[in-house]
């Protein structure tokens, strides 16, 4: 079974029901299915090895996702916010590709490339024209999705999710057609993030209409949620922060009473922000979803009842659960292990390991799964004595800012290109707005560059999310006897400076 069956079942059951609303147009499940089958014809004919979306979200995303599945080709949405050099490198890695979206940028970055490139509207029209709605869903056993994800070193890894991982995840967490006809989910997360893909598949299988907001803006989000009577929404913490700001004290806000279920994930949710949101949306249910690209998204969740219980509890232990990511899904196994791989008891922090059918842990380059199928998440955390999972940062050095993985290495490499910088370390520091913000500590070998100069250097070579919020100059960076940079000491320097 492959993910195309998820859409086919919806199209068979309720062909005329609206499945997606984008830029004012409604798409029924039958229309989405038909377009996906047409996309498959074009993709198969192109000989492409990957289908890439280089675009903000739109109906093209689910059409391409399912079309690629039907054609037996991995779907590999690309992050359009990447700098040219980085995006160009990724496009080269998936050549020859069927690329939908920014035709001009692809022409600039891959001029001699053997790619078939389509503007969004052209792709959609072609897909509708070539539709073969009577065809069966696929039986694909291969790779459904490929997502480039940052690790500790500069070059992104190509994480792969097989059809079996995604199908297991959806069948294990979503009741087919479980949504009532009036339900609608506002999706504003980017199409190149696992949450954006999981949102499409979950909503399609539940038959909950998707309201797609291509580019997040808090005021537009609020207006759209009100106008389309969104009942569900998924947000990353930074989006929720901006929505809460835009709502102010709630007195001038449009009617959001339809919003019954807010799910959040993709990064650390500051408890102060959650409390404000709980107060602004008193009748909504909140769900915290913790997951990774490599695990097909959610592996643990803190549900609405658990939020409510924690919110009104006087017991500090129960109240603390507002800061947890909840209990592991019944379909996965989760353990905390120390550096030697020994399983730790409740209360002790270590690295989070997870196992289950939805867990891939595979990259193009290699599998990260250990014998027995366990996947080391590189997230640090602990379980309390009732099985609630608490995160305590990264077990590796990756900075997680606004739900986005940032490799310290890429920032450090750029800083070291400056003639006055002898050494550099980039670490995450706590941030109410972002979960973590980027901070850098540098040692000099010449005249001290200005903060503005350093920030420009990083913004120009990388992008704005990599620009440090804090820059600290020191005599020398802390190393151990083996010559290893001690990042926890770097963080201490920032904390005490």
């Amino acid at each position: 079974m492959d993910i195309s069956l998820l859409l086919k079942m919806a199209a068979d059951a309720e062909p005329e029901r609206a499945g997606l609303t984008c830029d004012g147009r409604n798409w029924t499940y039958a229309e989405l299915w038909a377009a996906a089958t047409g996309a498959a014809v074009e993709i198969a004919a192109s000989g492409a090895t990957h289908v890439a979306l280089l675009d903000t979200g739109s109906e093209a995303a689910p059409i391409a996702l399912i079309g690629a599945a039907l054609a037996g080709v991995p779907y590999c949405p690309l992050n359009y916010r990447l700098a040219d050099a980085d995006l160009g490198a990724l496009i080269a890695r998936i050549e020859p590709a069927f690329i939908i979206g920014d035709v001009e940028r692809v022409a600039k970055l891959a001029p001699g490339g053997n790619h078939k490139v389509f503007a969004r509207a052209d792709f959609v029209k072609l897909a509708e024209q070539k539709a073969e709605p009577e065809r069966e869903a696929g039986e694909g056993e291969g790779i459904a999705v490929q997502l480039f994800t940052s690790g500790t070193t500069a070059a992104p890894k190509a994480a792969i999710l097989r059809h079996s991982n995604l199908v297991s995840y959806i069948l294990g967490t979503v009741e087919f057609g479980g949504a009532d006809p009036f339900e609608a989910a506002l999706v504003s997360v980017p199409p190149y993030h696992i949450a954006g893909i999981a949102a499409l598949l979950s909503s399609i299988y539940a038959m909950r209409r998707i309201i797609l907001l291509p580019a997040f803006d808090p005021k537009v989000w609020i207006e759209l949620a009100s106008k389309e009577k969104a009942t569900n929404a998924f947000v990353v913490p930074t989006m929720l922060s901006r929505i809460v700001e835009a709502l102010g004290d709630g007195s001038n806000a449009p009617d959001l009473s339809h919003l019954k279920a807010i799910a959040y994930g993709g990064g650390r949710m500051p408890v102060e922000l959650l409390l404000r949101a709980l107060d602004l949306f008193p009748t909504a249910s909140f769900t915290n979803a913790y997951g990774l690209t490599e695990t097909s998204s959610t592996i643990a969740l803190l549900g609405p009842d658990e939020h409510r219980e924690a919110h009104k509890s006087e017991d500090p232990k129960v109240r603390a659960r507002l800061g947890s990511v909840g209990k592991p899904l019944p379909t996965v196994e989760l353990e905390i292990r120390d550096e030697e791989g020994k399983v730790l008891p409740p209360g002790e922090a270590g690295e989070i390991y997870v196992r289950g059918d939805q867990v891939s842990g595979e990259y193009r380059e290699r599998s990260a799964l250990l014998p027995g199928g366990w996947f080391p998440t590189r997230d640090a955390g602990f379980l309390d004595d009732e099985g609630y999972l608490f995160l305590s940062g990264r077990a590796d050095d990756v900075i997680v800012r606004g739900g986005e993985n940032i490799s310290p290495g890429e920032i450090e490499d750029v800083l070291l290109t400056h003639p006055s910088i002898a050494d550099a370390a980039a670490v995450g520091v706590p941030s109410t707005e972002w979960g973590e913000a980027v901070a850098v500590v540098i040692a000099l070998k010449g005249e001290q560059p200005t903060e503005a100069e350093i920030k420009s250097l990083i913004r120009d070579r990388l992008r704005s999310s990599r620009v440090p919020e804090r820059i600290l100059v020191v005599e020398a960076l802390p190393y151990n006897e083996m010559g290893k940079l001690l990042r926890r000491e770097v963080r201490k320097l920032l904390a005490t400076a």
Partner: protein, 96 residues
């Protein structure tokens, strides 16, 4: 029977996908063994005529089999002659 395989009813429109399959056994629908490809359509045995519902999952008492209905029909499912039950769905809150 293999997990991941599709089976069709020989006597009604039902089609299922095996999410979980026991090593041995016969899955029937409407009283007739399910098949990979349909031949001539038979008639539904009244004892197994509860019908199947799209998207529902059916299991036995031990959980050795899990059949996802991908096309509904008039017959109902049984493993080795024992009627399958609707899987107890404890729906999770929507998290995506």
């Amino acid at each position: 029977m293999k997990a991941g395989s599709k089976l069709k009813s020989a006597v009604c429109d039902t089609e299922v996908l095996l999410v979980k399959a026991p090593a041995e056994g016969v899955l029937s629908c409407g009283g007739a063994p399910m098949v990979a490809e349909r031949g001539e359509k038979g008639t539904v045995d009244a004892a197994f005529a509860e019908g199947t519902k799209m998207g529902k999952r059916y299991t036995d008492a031990t959980g050795s089999i899990e059949a996802l209905c991908i096309k509904p029909g008039a017959g109902s499912l049984a493993l080795n002659g024992v009627a399958l039950q609707l899987k107890d769905a404890k729906p999770l809150p929507s998290s995506d």
